[in-house]
């Protein structure tokens, strides 16, 4: 089956049983990200401590398995990390999707690294990066909704 490798267990697990697909009670920051061409739509919420650590996060919305699982894996990865480290991870993730990363970098992405093969599927790239794009905007305190059209 051609698809086995692609819709792998990590991905399907994060999609069917997401850990962070919920709403924060009092989110400090919240931002919507949409993927107009295929309808993925998430709202990302974060609480960042005064010393710049992402203390808590959640997302809700609707979209394909890749967009949802990717957001979930991302939150699993960045919660507890400093904002600047989260942004660094974002750069590594984007590099992985658009180009290539080293073994070392791949390991830093933990489960999010399982999306590596998306780089061969141009039509799904937008889905995979939606969460990360929204995270970036949120951390940089942009206030406009994120649309992958603007990438």
């Amino acid at each position: 089956m051609e698809n086995r490798t692609f819709y792998n267990e990590i991905l399907t697990e994060h999609n069917i049983h997401p850990i962070y697909k919920t709403k924060l009670i009092e989110p400090q920051r919240s931002l919507r990200g949409v993927n107009p061409s295929c309808g993925d739509d998430i709202t990302l919420q974060l609480n960042v401590s005064d010393d710049g650590v992402i203390e808590d996060g959640a997302f809700f919305g609707d979209g394909c398995a890749i967009s949802q699982a990717s957001a979930d894996m991302m939150l699993e990865l960045v919660i507890g990390k400093k904002v600047k480290d989260a942004l660094l991870l974002k750069d590594i993730f984007m590099k992985m999707i658009k180009d290539k990363v080293t073994e070392e970098e791949l390991e830093m992405l933990e489960e999010a690294g399982s999306l590596q093969d998306i780089s061969h599927m141009p039509s799904r790239v937008k889905c995979a990066v939606l969460g990360w794009r929204t995270l970036e905007a949120l951390l940089k305190e942009e206030s406009d909704d994120v649309s992958t059209e603007d990438i």
Binding site: C38, G39, G63
Partner: protein, 412 residues
Amino acid sequence: MKIGSNNMNIEEIRKDFPFFEKSELAYLDNSATTQRPRQVIEAVMDYEYYHNANPFRGLYELSIDATERYEAARTKVARFINAASDQEIIFTRNASESLNLVAYSLGGMCLREGDEIITTVVEHHSNMLPWRHVAKHCGATVKYLECEEDGSFSLEKFKSLLSEKTKIVAMTAMSNIFGRVIDIKAFAEAAHEVGAYFVADGAQSVPHSVTDVQALGVDFLAFSGHKLLAPMGIGVLYGKKELLSKMPPYQTGGEMIEYVTLDDVTYAELPHKFEAGTVNAAGAVGLAAAIDYITEIGLHNIEERELELTRMAFDGMKSIPHVIILGGDKAEDHHGIITFKIEGVHPHDIAAIIADANVAVRAGHHCAEPLHQFMGIPSTTRASLMFYNTEDEVQRLIDIVRKIRPMMGYPD
């Protein structure tokens, strides 16, 4: 022999389509656009190579010949939908342009502040946005007829929306989501009773069933060539002559005028009044060839064949757990269009998995976003069949759909 005793010889038919020679793809996205037979593209090629000149006004034979070929295509289209006159056929770029044309021109003629246009929640954006646009412009209101769960419309509900204020009714003859044929004759009659004009969107119906505009009693009908085996870039607007003659032109420019001075302009006769600029004669010739092709096989045979394939697809898909097919619960209500959802799986993933199995279907809202909102579903997946599809292709669709939930981590 393309037609056997009981049905068609699909093997033979598929040989007319170069696409099937080179590709293993099960092409089940025919509602979006069809593949093209050799006969059609060769007709275009023959025109472009040996008969091309700018039609009209040329006094030399080549231009007269080009004009005749273009007008012969018009006659062919007129006969195909049983228009009363060639002058009732306007060539456009596609169904969308046809609908923009009639919305602008008919709306401009008959809409006043406070008037109403009725359309339906199932419409393709191309038969909804132009009406909203012209309504806004004229201070009119658009009302939406809701559909039933099976994709049908209630004539009673429709009548309850109608009033003296209703000036235009715009309705599809077949939804690109449900595939159900709508009894537009009855709706057109009811619209006419209150003095409203009836515009039918035939983009999906014309390629798959016999259309008789006079029997249907519609005032306008729009459709696209590319969903009918013809090349891209050619579409049709049918309109009743008495209405078209009264309507203001849409686009202006070359070939659609009779006299122009710096202060005044007199427009040309029908249908030229509505065809500004150099016409797409090659496209029209291609559309005529497509009509010939379809007529040779016979639309009735096509309908029969498509029903067979639809039955197989419908029954097969229905038997898969967690697959829900939208619209009517009989194959007969679907005319080759199976729009479905799979519980727990996003359509984007469905389509990607199906695509990976080398089967082409479409995911999204299929340019009918309001309908999806009305149904409370963000998006769906659609397989759409054409007579040239094979049982094997349909089986490949069913087989892969059956595997999707397990692949996505569900126990069944």
